[in-house]
Subunit: 236 residues, 2 copies
């Protein structure tokens, strides 16, 4: 049987970056398309699924080729397949990951040094996105919705933070994800009651009064992929 | 560009059915394959995605053709795309839904009466599945894992119940999903504290002492599809 339907992958990589005004905002990398359809418009990193690789491997490959980024875990976001989402019939399997800003900086720098980094990649704050190709605006909106839902019942914000962090760091990540301010005292009570955080003996010192550093309780696995093996869920 | 990758859909339909011994067990419909690959083995209802329909519409169509079932909402479970999951290269987008046993009975009966019901469909209890084609055993295992996870933070068990039910009915559904017995008093405390249930003025009477009927608090939508439209998420 011949099908005139092709399979593509796209990847939503979110990081928390500090603006010049000192705020933390969510940002993601986009690629300026050089050919039709949607030439000269921005799109998520991605490409065609090839015969010899799984969708998650294709996501990792195309992400690495364009941005140099190599997240330790890519989660499947959704398979988008509406009939009219592209001028030709394309089903896109979309993956997503959260990356710490320092990992983004290190991996991007190594990619530039390799001489293989394309010129047409740029990071955008999610509240200042350009016009997007295909249904990629909707895909990003869905990824942000999923992130906001997930932050309520999991340790997803950990993906933005170093191994040790202050409660103010964690609250700042939650505020950027949820797009609203949180009361510091309420936030402290809630995260302490959750049992997810363990206090360390260390403090961050600086211009403010010393703030205790916390780490996540790693008795619970961060990325529980359930019964699926690595061929369906992550990068080998 | 030509891709030798084809796109299929499959559907996992779960219901809670009562065995002859009076227990409630999870069950799902399977289709006996009549051709290669995996001829004479059981598989999930499904088929090829056609050019003019979205994956969720293809799931609804193939499910209806084989089983006569028409769930009001199909949720995307996962896109399975491992290279070796089929003798040829196939990406399967899998949807799932929960159906009440009385809806299953009514829709199956109407399908049989139509004269279009195929002979090769049968329901199986999930603890007594036959040998399955492709990676369908893993897909079912993943659907059950997702259901068990979801029951903890959502009203997913509602999909198995009529609009009014006793706490014993609800506990029985949870026990079938989780595969373990739950303490009746603890269970009552937890669901009452959740705020998800509203007591009615009605009682079920019969051979036992009268049991109060409850309904779900429908202030919260049961199936929150987020920012995705119906072309990606459900049946029109």
């Amino acid at each position: 049987m011949t099908q005139s339907i092709r399979v593509a992958v796209s990847t939503v990589i979110l990081t928390l970056r500090r603006t010049e005004s000192g705020d933390a905002v969510l940002a993601l990398p986009l690629v300026l398309r050089t050919r039709e359809p949607f030439a000269d418009q921005w799109a998520l990193p991605g490409g065609w699924l090839t015969t010899a690789e799984s969708p998650v491997d294709a996501s990792a490959r195309t992400l690495s080729e364009t941005t140099g980024l190599a997240p330790s875990y890519l989660e499947q976001l959704y398979a988008f397949g509406a009939v009219d989402r592209s001028p030709t019939r394309v089903v896109s399997i979309v993956y997503w990951a959260l990356l710490r800003q320092d990992d983004v900086d290190a991996q991007s720098e190594a990619h530039r040094a390799s001489g293989r980094a394309p010129e047409n990649v740029r990071w955008f704050d999610i509240d200042d996105l350009p016009s997007l190709a295909f249904d990629h605006a909707k895909i990003i909106e869905y990824a942000l919705w999923r992130l906001r839902n997930k932050v309520g019942y999991s340790r997803v914000a950990h993906g933005f933070l170093p191994s040790e962090f202050t409660l103010a760091d964690l609250r700042e990540a939650y505020e950027a994800i949820l797009g609203k301010s949180l009361d510091p005292a309420n936030f402290r009570r809630q995260v302490e009651a959750s049992g997810n955080l363990l206090p360390t003996d260390r403090f961050r010192t600086g211009s403010h009064r010393p703030a205790r550093l916390y780490r996540y309780n790693t008795d619970v696995a961060l990325a529980d992929r359930g019964p699926l093996g690595p061929e369906e869920t992550s990068i080998r």
